[in-house]
């Protein structure tokens, strides 16, 4: 079939392609330890696709789309005071699998309040809603791939899995990267939390060294003296062939 000129210009260059996702470091879809996954997991193997433009592109966001307080969970929902709880800074870098920083990407976070209650119409846990805490924030990474936000340390809470299942304190993260195949949602845990070894969601990850990479470390150097502690959480999205190889894909 003859190629249109515009098609030729749009051809996918080999360096835009992403490395195959290593699924052994992720939880599989079907994990009976986390009961809800049983009926929500495809049973037929995923069809593996080579990258096309549909995979190597993805939505881009600009800082102008966000408000000035969007990354300050201490203030972005405060009505008549500050939220209750231990104030912390969470920060880190978003990198790709090649170790390159991912600048300008959207990072969104959400969490329970200090008592372990979410501001969500479906959450009925006994801990009270905090009138000054929304529990969500968002930011765009800077030119070095760095992000940071202020918040309160979330509380642990129970959930219906086994009758005495408790979630360790955690913050949910949603990250885009530069392509839709880098899209990732995950959860950040806190160093030293005694619930980590008991959690059914963490237990879905078969690789224990992978679990370690979800645990934020206390970062005393980033703490504000006499004000608040800081935790460091770096995020790695899939790497691409970019700059590694100049040779074209075979065939065309």
């Amino acid at each position: 079939m003859a190629m249109r000129r515009s098609d030729e210009a749009a051809r996918l260059t080999s360096d835009a392609e992403f490395h195959q996702r290593d699924r052994t470091i992720h939880p599989p879809a079907h994990t009976p330890v986390y009961k809800t996954s049983v009926l929500r997991s495809p049973r037929i193997p995923l069809w593996s696709l080579q990258n096309s433009l549909s995979e190597v592109t993805g939505p881009m966001f600009s800082p102008e789309e966000l408000g000035p307080l969007d990354n300050d969970l201490l203030r972005n929902y405060a009505h008549d005071g500050e939220p209750i709880g231990e104030q912390i800074i969470v920060h880190g870098y978003v990198l790709d699998g090649n170790g390159r920083p991912i600048s300008g990407t959207l990072v969104e976070v959400w969490q329970a309040n200090a008592g372990g209650r979410y501001r969500h119409r479906n959450d009925t846990y006994i801990a009270p809603i905090d009138p000054n805490f929304g529990g969500c924030g968002r930011m765009i990474t800077d030119e070095n791939g760095h992000y940071f936000f202020r918040t309160v340390k979330p509380g642990a809470y129970p959930f219906r899995n086994y009758v005495n299942s408790w979630r360790p304190a955690h913050i949910h993260f949603s990250i885009f990267g530069r392509a839709f195949v880098q899209r990732l949602i995950t959860q950040m845990y806190f160093e030293g939390d005694p619930l980590i070894p008991h959690d059914s969601i963490i237990a879905t990850i078969p690789d224990k060294s992978a679990v370690e990479r979800l645990i934020a470390r206390l970062d005393l150097n980033a703490a504000l003296p006499l004000e608040c502690l800081a935790y460091r959480f770096d995020i790695v999205l899939r790497g691409s062939r970019q700059t590694l190889f100049d040779n074209k894909l075979h065939g065309s």
Binding site: M3, D7, A9, A10, R11, L12, A16, R21, D22, R23, H26, P27, P28, Y34, S37, L39, R40, S41, P42, L46, W47, L49, S52, L53, S54, E55, V56, T57, P59, M60, E65, G67, N76, Y77, D96, G97, W110, Y118, H120, R121, N122, D123, G134, G135, R138, H172, A179, F180, V181, R183, L184, I185, T186, Q187, I201, I205, R213, L214, L237, G251
Partner: protein, 212 residues
């Protein structure tokens, strides 16, 4: 942990975790029941200056027991009406519609289980390596409680029979009957064009999901 310091010590990807039942707080707070951001992302992305045929994609997402879920996050990514993605990796000249990002986000409704995306119908997209065009399609990504790692699939258009029959991605799916799980029939309701795209996470009619 010590790592050998040779050139190809790639960094392993951060592992995925479920988005949980309260994903709406972070990503669609209005559905969670509160108003916090001035500018909210949404499932209605066909603004007045966007070029192309206005369409609504709607459907339900069923679990393995045949129950329609009420808490799934749905994101879509698509090309514009000319078949160009709003992204630097798409090198087609002149076809960019600056008013159209191409990305939408919504959730299945807590009461009805229905999700809806209001957008425009994309054009055919240049295939891998500039070869034949892929049939018009919309990339879907699902995350929720019980989904440990986001699920990727594609929706194709029921009125694009010839293009679908030649589509390189649909054609790699071995069983022709499974290709149908990706094709949304077109209908009209109150003057609006509707494509109905139901997704089955599991079961006899399990949707084709991709490892992309």
């Amino acid at each position: 942990m010590d790592r050998p310091s040779f050139a190809f010590a790639y960094l392993p990807e951060t592992p995925s975790q479920t988005a949980g039942p309260y994903v709406h707080i972070g990503l669609i707070p209005k559905q969670a029941g509160f108003d916090i951001f001035e500018n909210n992302f949404s499932g209605d992305i066909a603004g007045p200056s966007v070029q192309g045929e206005r369409i609504t994609i709607e459907g339900r997402i069923f679990d393995g027991a045949g129950h329609s879920t009420r808490d799934v996050l749905v994101e879509t990514w698509q090309a514009n009406a000319a078949g160009r993605y709003n992204h630097p990796a798409d090198g087609q000249r002149g076809a960019l519609d600056k008013s159209f990002r191409g990305w939408a986000r919504t959730g299945t409704d807590f009461a009805t289980g229905v999700y809806a995306i209001r957008t425009i119908k994309p054009g055919a997209v240049v295939g891998r390596k500039g070869r034949r065009r892929m049939a018009p399609h919309i990339n879907f990504w699902l995350a929720s409680r019980g989904i440990n790692i986001g699920l990727a699939t594609r929706m194709y258009f029921g009125d694009e029979e010839a293009a679908n029959a030649a589509d390189p991605v649909l054609n790699i799916i071995e069983q022709p009957e499974r290709r149908k799980t990706l094709i949304a029939p077109r209908s009209e309701r109150d003057g609006n064009i509707i494509y109905t795209f139901d997704i089955h996470l599991q079961g006899e009619r399990e949707t084709v999901f991709f490892d992309v």
